[in-house]
């Protein structure tokens, strides 16, 4: 079975500072990896995904994540955060090549400080 661990439940960071949200996964088979974002009072939106190919994936709003198979990690980074990035971020995993359920981590709440 797959599992996802997000070690940080909350991450405070000053505006325009860099941020990293950590995600580690566990699986005995190859996986797809995702980051979803949930803005206040909204549903989850896909931020970025790793399916295959380049281990570094980027979103349209400046976030990036790197798949590290040896460390079983998929950390999310942004070099300079904006107040609008305030949200909860969920890392998720599913089995590769299977139309399968996606398993979510517990989420990390990103607080942007002025």
């Amino acid at each position: 079975a797959q599992s996802v661990t997000q070690l940080d439940s909350q991450v405070p960071v000053f505006e325009e500072a860099p941020v990293e949200l950590r995600c580690n996964y566990s699986s005995s088979v190859s996986v797809y990896l995702f980051w979803y974002v949930q803005y206040p009072n909204q549903g989850l939106q896909l931020l970025l995904k790793y399916l295959s190919g380049s281990t570094l994936v980027e979103s349209i709003n400046g976030f990036e994540a790197e798949f590290n198979k040896s460390q079983t990690s998929f950390h999310l980074r942004k070099p300079s955060v904006h107040i609008s990035d305030t949200a909860e971020y969920f890392c998720a995993v599913s089995r590769m090549n299977r139309d399968d359920k996606i398993i979510f981590g517990k989420g990390t709440r990103l607080h942007i400080l002025p």
Binding site: F34, G43, L44, Q45, L46, A92, D99, K101, K106
Partner: protein
Amino acid sequence: EAGVVQSPRYKIIEKKQPVAFWCNPISGHNTLYWYRQNLGQGPELLIRYENEEAVDDSQLPKDRFSAERLKGVDSTLKIQPAELGDSAVYLCASSSLNSPLHFGNGTRLTVT
């Protein structure tokens, strides 16, 4: 394209009462999911449909929860009777072979 539509947006009921949630997935998405998200937690899968067939309902508490997806499009999730511990946000999502999971805005259930 229109997104996943859920209703109602909020629901407050007394314990032991029944409640139902409705979901309209994105057109053409064969796979439909119901997730439950407790406060401070990530979403947890309750049931997954492929067209009208429930292919994974292992996490659905079948003594009080039921779901259906007639004609393989809209879906309803029902709780009868509701308990205090059922208070959560119920999320519907849909996907297709070449499309990732798209979520609705959810129904926030409060059981008093």
